[in-house]
């Protein structure tokens, strides 16, 4: 799924905003191949994502679902901090960090994100493949796969 690469980003407000970074989201590679075969345009969005070790799975906003014209590939039961559970749609996407890290097939859940500027939560399903270094004094975060 991943080649060995490092993605480093510096944030002046790391403590206040958390480890956020820009990512490019598209449909998954198999879906892109299907769209190309049908000579359809491949949608793509560049959004702010929060690296969230409290999220077991990667999640995307409803805006991303709309912009990428995603259709569901499943449903999943989600538990939030208020102890409620509900069914959410699951989608297949691809995700790029910078130039070197590209995840071709990623299952992500639709979510109502509180912070309207954040459209993606990078969950532990991605983090389990790499090493995350949070360097507070230098306001720097490094993600290595």
């Amino acid at each position: 799924m991943l080649s060995r690469s490092t993605f480093t980003f510096k944030l002046p407000y790391l403590r206040e905003k958390g480890p956020i970074c820009q990512v490019v989201l598209k449909p998954s590679e198999p879906t892109i191949a299907k769209l190309k075969l049908e000579k359809q345009k491949v949608p793509s969005v560049k959004v702010w994502a929060l690296i969230d070790s409290g999220a077991s799975t990667t999640a995307i906003s409803q805006k991303v679902v709309r912009d990428l014209k995603l259709v569901p590939r499943g449903t999943a039961k989600v538990y939030t901090s208020n102890r409620h559970s509900e069914m959410r749609n699951e989608y297949d996407i691809s995700l790029e960090f910078g130039k070197d890290i590209y995840l071709q097939i990623l299952r992500s859940l639709e979510a109502n994100l509180k912070d309207q500027t954040i459209h993606c939560l990078i969950g532990r399903d991605i983090l389990q493949h790499g090493k995350l270094i949070y360097d507070g004094p230098k306001n720097k975060v490094t993600l290595t796969f």
Partner: protein, 78 residues
Amino acid sequence: MRAILAKEYKVYVDQLEHFLPQHLNQYVLIKEQKVVGFYDSYEDALKRGLERFGNVPFFVRMVQEVEEMHFFQQGLSA
């Protein structure tokens, strides 16, 4: 927000007992409440669904005894 594939999910839950003996840890593909097949990877199931039905909703899920739970400690509204 609503779960569009709720009916397919119900098929999965209702038939899980029958899936488990032979298809544990495989991925099941369900479309319009019918089981299409079982595959060794999510990618294989996804490709098969796209090939057969096109880029439309269909249900893919790993066959597991205990349903995977997804947790979000923060960041989501209620």
